[in-house]
């Protein structure tokens, strides 16, 4: 399948990689268009259910990128993320998820060129791997704790913040 | 206390008296020594210098044999052998790949179950366990305890508490009535294995040790290693030649010191085999170093207990200065 274009989701932290990718832009460095970035405050925020969900939504590959070790804007968020990834990796592997499709990287706010390189490498690798058709989608339904309401539907459950304000304890 | 025994080559030859004295005192201390059958040379610095694998395989064979005889602990009186055996055990336990390679070479299983003990480990136990009550003639001398290199280093293997100024031997000799001095050369190298190939070096290094001990008023040096003994005792003439100075103080194995305190005789302990004569009672410490820069306190005659006479020395405190012995 020569003209297959993979869909890549990138989970990036606001302080390092998002800013690094901004720098890629300001430096006009070109890279593969396949990536869609989700901005998070910190890689520590990444719940690995999100990865499953992303694959479930048809992503062919995922990039997770944050600050270099020791540089976390929040002191130790990226450390937690890494540690959690180590555990989660085994679980994913066990479940039959193709780990080659997940890239972990450190990109600082000054590494614009590195960001481009990471995206290009991931895109090239995924082109070789082909579409991730055999991702067992039912996992998401089984383990996904969130049902996301489609446009137009009423929210399935009240939003967390709203709940906090409304629930007064007995 | 039943303990395995690895005499090492020196104790079979040039340091027989160390072996003899050990065997003489062991029963009095309630220590039963079982020699490892068919043990072999540890390879000493020769193997260590030329061939790393050989330097591990040779001690490993003896350790494996000790293990095979069901020994949990192994006394290795020679510091050099002790060091080689302890390091080998340590390295083999740390590194699985190395262990399997070496066990293939020696064709014997090795689990490391036999612990390697130095004389200080064993006598230290006795010292805190009734040795004091067995003393008949306290060794009332000022002694310089000399540890050398291998009893304390490397720290992670010997687990010596104060590697730069160890106290283990000092504590043992105190129990038998000696007065260990504070001195600076406890762990300085004596030249060890160079005693055949580089005499001048050995004389220089050992000379500094003997000099400091004498200058601080020691009446004897106590050692726990045949090599140290050779360099400080047997090579005394070349030391004196190098330093242009005579030194009277004898060099005793720690086992001999304990033996004397336990009331054993000179011959039993092999004192007659020393090069520098052991005439403890008659040593005149004030003169044990040539007068020039001597700052050592003049000992009082009463410091020397009459009991030392039993070590076969002349009882008169002011007796003939031992320095003249070789003249």
């Amino acid at each position: 399948m020569p003209d297959f274009e993979p869909r890549i989701v990138a989970f990036v932290c606001n302080w390092c990689t998002y800013a690094g990718a901004d720098l890629t832009g300001t430096s006009r460095i070109k890279y593969a268009h396949n990536v869609r970035m989700i901005r998070l405050p910190c890689t520590g925020r990444i719940d690995f259910m999100l990865l499953l969900q992303a694959f479930g939504q048809g992503a062919d590959g995922i990039i997770v990128s944050g600050c270099h070790p020791g540089d976390c804007h929040y002191t130790s968020g990226n450390f937690h993320a890494r540690r959690r990834w180590m555990l989660f990796r085994r679980l994913l592997d066990f479940m039959g998820v193709d780990l080659r499709r997940v890239t972990f990287a450190w990109v600082s706010a000054a590494e614009g060129a590195k960001w481009a390189e990471i995206v290009n490498t991931a895109a090239a690798d995924l082109r070789k791997l082909g579409p991730y058709d055999d991702f067992p989608k039912r996992f998401v339904e089984k383990v996904g704790l969130f049902t996301v309401h489609r446009e137009g539907e009423a929210p399935a459950e009240p939003n967390v913040a709203a709940r906090t304000q409304s629930a007064e304890v007995a | 206390m039943k303990i395995g025994f690895f005499p090492g080559c020196s104790l079979e030859g040039s340091s027989r008296e160390y072996n003899e004295s050990l065997h003489a005192i062991a029963p009095l201390l309630g220590v039963e020594l079982t020699e490892v059958p068919d043990w072999n040379c540890c390879g000493a610095s020769a193997a260590h210098s030329l061939n790393h694998k050989l330097a591990l395989a040779l001690p490993a064979r003896s350790l494996a044999l000790a293990e095979k005889s069901g020994l949990d602990e192994l006394l290795v009186p020679c510091s050099a052998c002790y060091s080689r055996l302890a390091i080998t055990r340590h390295e083999l336990l740390e590194n699985d790949a190395l262990r399997s390679e070496i066990t293939k070479i020696i064709e014997l299983p090795f689990t490391g179950r036999t612990k390697v003990l130095s004389v200080l480990d064993v006598f230290g136990r006795c010292a805190s366990n009734g040795l004091k009550d067995k003393v008949r003639t306290p060794f009332g001398q000022k002694v310089a305890c000399y540890y050398g290199c291998y009893l304390t280093r490397p720290e992670k293997i010997t687990t010596c508490a104060r590697p730069e100024d160890p106290r283990e031997m000092d504590d043992i000799v105190k129990v038998v009535g000696a007065e260990p001095i504070n001195w600076a050369f406890k762990v300085e190298c004596c030249g060890a294995g160079f005693s055949v190939s580089r005499l001048d070096t050995v004389a220089e290094l050992s000379g500094r040790i003997v000099h400091d001990a004498a200058a601080r008023g020691a009446q004897a040096i106590v050692v726990a290693c045949p090599m140290c003994h050779t360099n400080l005792d047997l090579r005394r003439d070349s030391i004196e030649r190098t330093r242009q100075q005579k030194y009277a103080l004898p060099v005793l194995y720690i086992s001999q010191v304990i033996g004397l305190a336990l009331g054993l005789g000179e011959r039993q302990l092999g004192l007659h085999r020393h090069h520098v004569p052991v005439r403890l009672g008659s040593v005149a410490p004030a003169n044990s170093v040539a007068p020039a820069n001597s700052r050592c306190p003049t000992p009082v005659a009463a410091d020397v207990p009459a009991a030392l006479g039993s070590a076969g020395a002349s009882p008169s405190p002011g007796g003939s200065p031992a320095q003249e012995k070789e003249a």
């Binding site: 998002y18 890629t24 268009h33 910190c42 719940d47 137009g152 929210p155 967390v160 007995a170 | -």
Partner: protein
């Protein structure tokens, strides 16, 4: 039903040159919930912003997506515009069509469809955004300064002089810290006490400063602007109010042979004592561990001598509770003792001393009135050896860092020695000379060139006594690595500067981090050097890392400026991007199961325990609660919570999942 407005920016040709903006605008209009979709040349210009404001009002928009440059550039601009039009600013999001799309891809269909995707993702997110409101917390305008060395003194004075209240807590009987012990200070060689003591007096007399000496922090709770501290005032056995500081008690005390801490063990003091003559406060304290009365129940000579009857043998420790809005940690350092060095004799050689002891020997107010005499026999050394990097830069000894000040004070010591003993010989064994600072290198060169101090490059392997002298076995690596032996009368070790022994427990009390060496950890090594990662707590001086007086003072003033910045407002306002633990109707109250995994993950100690009780006070369950004053919004806790009970406002699970679904 959501009513979303989408505004596509061309950024001149920057976006429009690569992306087909009209196509994006059309596609956006098709997204369910989008009721308004336009494009414009420069969205951030005034006309551009006005378009947004008008649309919000006319179309009653419930959310706005501006598809333009990076939110790191213009998010505040557009959020402000929304707020001005009456829309909660947190209902505005930006899609990054410039840095993440038009600038990094070629002009083609892929780029435009990526732009459409980016807009769709943000539309789905903004649909689920909730109005958020800045968090306000009140500020108590009193600062607590812990440690009364030069760092604490400087910070306290700067804050107090700006009109705010300060409580200064010092562990020892007097303030002053190490600087009070120094003789003269590099690089100017001015007298340490002459410049320090006026400041100490100023602290004591300042109307805005409450000074507690012989006191320690017992507990610290609360958060930025609202801390509650408990201070333990240790029993001095003196009524400070009655005591006039006449010193009659000290004259009478029968115990005169206690090693003086102030003189680094080189001088002696009594059991009732003032640490040094210029102490602030100049009131004595009874050292209970030595005092005959406390040890045997008899003596009280001092009590009889006291003209004002100020002595109180039955005094108890006192606990003082105070509310403070900010804390400055300024607890300083310690130096390693000579017993830290097996190869230099385990501290058993009297004539091997530390640099701090040398300061006391060189000080005119010291035990020898400034005459350099060696401790063993009082001889003035003819030959003196200084050993730099003693214990520092020595990973084998567990101290890999450079103590930073010892190169300088060693040069100073050698110089002071040469100034006092003209015929003497001074050697310095060093590895590198680190003299980066204003006039520092010049200072060291002066020691070498003018005072002819012999610098030998190499470490010392061993020091041992011989014939009343010390043999220093070193090496000269510049002389073909030749071993060098020097017979010295005295040796001064520039021993490593280390954290206070109680630094770790103090850090735990304050809930701040510390590094592997137990120095307190600043929030960012370059950009937040005086803040700690717990908001409202600041750090100054050598408790953060080894530093000299100029740096200490600079950092102390910076910490004071931070405190004053905090105190400049009555209330603190923070971005509401914080975590919240959900609440729901009884009998659940919250889905939180109280595992407190979140607590273990939070680097800011923002997670508290909350007891949920019935009306009559019966405990139902304990759940997590986020202290919004402390939370920094990293979201680490959210990712860890297995019951999905904690969520991050602005980046909620729901929002992020919706973004994914929009892909």
């Amino acid at each position: 039903m959501p009513r979303i407005g989408v505004f596509i920016c061309h950024c001149g040709e920057n976006i429009a040159g690569t992306v087909d903006c009209a196509a994006v605008t059309q596609a956006a209009a098709q997204i369910p919930g989008v009721v308004h979709s336009v494009d414009y040349k420069y969205m951030c210009s005034d006309p551009g912003q006005n378009q947004i404001k008008e649309a919000i009002k006319e179309k009653r928009l419930t959310g706005v997506v501006v598809a333009a440059c990076s939110p790191r550039m213009h998010e505040p601009t557009f959020r402000r515009a929304c707020a001005e039009a009456g829309l909660n600013p947190f209902l505005c999001e930006m899609a990054n069509l410039r840095e993440h799309c038009s600038w990094v891809h070629e002009k083609n269909g892929h780029t435009t469809s990526k732009a459409i995707d980016l807009v769709r993702i943000l539309v789905e997110k903004v649909k689920r955004n909730r109005p958020l409101f800045p968090i306000n917390v009140p500020v108590t305008k009193t600062a607590l300064v812990i440690g009364g060395g030069i760092a604490g003194i400087q910070a306290a004075l700067d804050i107090a002089n700006a009109g705010q209240k300060v409580v200064l807590v010092e562990r020892e009987p007097s303030i002053g810290g190490h600087m009070a012990q120094l003789s003269e200070t590099f690089p100017t060689l001015d007298c340490s006490q002459c410049i320090l003591t006026p400041r100490m007096v100023e602290v004591a007399q300042h109307p805005n400063i409450t000074l507690h000496t012989y006191a320690e922090l017992e507990r610290l709770d609360g958060f930025i602007g609202n801390f509650r501290a408990v201070i333990r005032k240790k029993a001095r056995c003196i009524d400070e109010k009655t005591c006039t500081g006449c010193g009659a008690c000290i004259q009478k005390c029968a115990l005169k042979k206690i090693p003086s801490e102030f003189n680094a063990g080189l001088g002696l003091r009594t059991a009732i004592y003032v640490p040094f003559p210029q102490a602030v406060p100049n009131k004595p304290v009874i050292d209970r561990d030595h005092c005959t009365f406390f040890q045997t129940g008899r003596c009280k000579l001092c009590e009889r001598a006291c003209p004002t009857k100020a002595i109180r043998f039955d005094q108890q420790d006192e606990f003082i509770e105070i509310n403070v809005g900010a804390v400055v940690a300024a607890t300083g350092y310690e130096v390693k003792g000579t017993d830290f060095f097996p190869e230099y004799g385990y501290g058993e050689q009297k004539d091997i001393i530390t640099g701090l002891q040398f300061e006391r020997l060189a000080s005119a107010s010291g035990p020898t009135q400034g005459v350099i005499k060696r401790p063993s026999d009082g001889k003035v050394p003819d030959t003196i050896v200084f050993v730099a990097c003693a214990g520092s830069r020595d990973p084998a000894k567990g101290i890999a860092y450079c103590s930073k000040i010892c190169c300088m004070y060693t040069a100073k010591h050698a110089m002071l020695y040469k100034h006092k003993v003209h015929a003497g010989k001074a050697y310095v064994f060093y590895m590198d000379i680190r003299a980066g600072g204003k006039m520092y290198e010049e200072f060291v060169r002066r020691a070498i060139e003018e005072d002819e101090v012999h610098y030998v490059r190499g470490r010392v392997s061993r020091i041992y006594p011989r014939d009343g002298q010390l043999v220093v076995k070193g090496v000269d690596t510049l002389l073909n690595s030749r071993p060098v032996e020097i017979e010295a009368d005295m040796v001064v070790l520039a021993t490593a500067m280390v954290a206070q022994p109680d630094a770790e427990s103090l850090a735990q009390k304050m809930k701040v981090s510390y590094d592997q060496y137990h120095f307190l950890a600043e929030a960012h090594p370059k950009l937040r050097p005086v803040e700690m990662n717990t908001a409202g707590i600041f750090v100054a001086g050598a408790c953060q890392a080894p530093k000299d007086i100029p740096e200490t003072v600079a950092q102390a003033s910076a910490a004071a400026a931070k405190v004053l910045g905090l105190f400049s407002r009555d209330e603190l306002s923070r971005e509401p991007v914080v975590a919240v633990v959900n609440r729901c109707a009884p009998p659940e109250f919250s889905t939180c199961v109280g595992c407190f995994l979140c607590e273990s993950a939070c680097a800011y100690q923002a997670i508290e325990h909350e007891d949920i009780k019935t009306r009559d006070g019966k405990l139902i369950k304990t759940v997590a609660r986020v202290n919004q004053g402390v939370c920094q919004g990293c979201g680490t806790c959210v990712a860890l919570c297995r019951s999905k009970s904690i969520d991050l406002q602005g980046f909620s699970n729901e929002q992020i999942f919706a973004e994914l679904v929009a892909l």
